[in-house]
Assembly symmetry: C2
Homo-oligomer: 132 residues x 2
DNA sequence: ATATAAATGTTATATTATTACATAACGTTA
DNA sequence: TAACGTTATGTAATAATATAACATTTATAT
């Protein structure tokens, strides 16, 4: 069970925006969209994003410098994330596949390193783009 | 068998630097280091980096905005990459584990999307940092 | 030789993210 | 409720990462 976090004002505004957008959003696009709500500076956005990432409400798509709302209600606070990214339309969706997450969470190689976190990004063409 | 690529002058200079460094390097640190060799502008660095990534001689560590020489002689031109990253000392190494790469290369979910590429980054503490 | 593609050089600028510092709101517990 | 510590906010400046646009040169393949 995930801990309830009471989002602050800025955190709520920014989370709602990302969540409603249904896809990944970039920090300065978020900034532009929330200026009418009084959030005027990049740092205000980045601080909210940092917190939202920390508590697992959003994830950063590293290869795109963009942020997406967590689509996985049982998300383990961003410790194990996987995304599929269409290289044509840039659609992103979160993969929740228990076999995959088990496999990766338990993965260990011969380095003797124990991994506490991973992020996986798959790339390809989505159905729509493939059929064009 | 990997195709031989004849690196251009700038590409060679930049690849050699990254390769000799033994770890990930950031673009502007590369720029600083090659200025004595006549490479003066960011774009010259980024162009060489783009090409080196394209042909699989280096990989980008997305979560760190850094570039590392491919440590895997049989690397499939950057279509399938996995790294382990120490969150304390920032040491990065490329994971080459055939089971893992087979598993991920063949992975497909119920989206009907066929993935042509993936990048996986594991995070944790390396042996040295763990024992501190 | 000549056409074509690839690489280079240069300037300017766009995009992404953080530092530093001051203030306000919130939550606890004495 | 007052005092304290923590978290969040506001604001300005700047650092770090990356690309656009354009001119020229070098390499490669007929």
């Amino acid at each position: 069970m995930q801990k309830e976090h009471n989002l602050s004002k800025n955190q709520k505004i920014i989370f709602d925006l990302i969540d409603k957008s249904g896809g990944p959003m970039k920090a300065y696009s978020i900034l532009f969209n929330v200026q009418k709500k009084g959030i005027k500076a990049p740092l205000q956005v980045y601080r909210a994003l940092d917190k939202l990432v920390e508590i697992g409400k959003i994830h950063k798509i590293e290869s795109r410098n963009a942020f997406i709302a967590c689509q996985n209600s049982s998300c383990q606070v961003s410790k194990a994330t996987a995304f599929s990214i269409c290289e044509s339309c840039e659609n992103v969706s979160e993969i929740s596949n228990s076999k995959l997450s088990k496999y990766l969470s338990n993965f260990s190689d011969d380095s003797g390193m124990k991994y506490s976190k991973y992020n996986l990004e798959f790339f390809g063409l989505c159905k729509k783009c493939k059929s064009k």
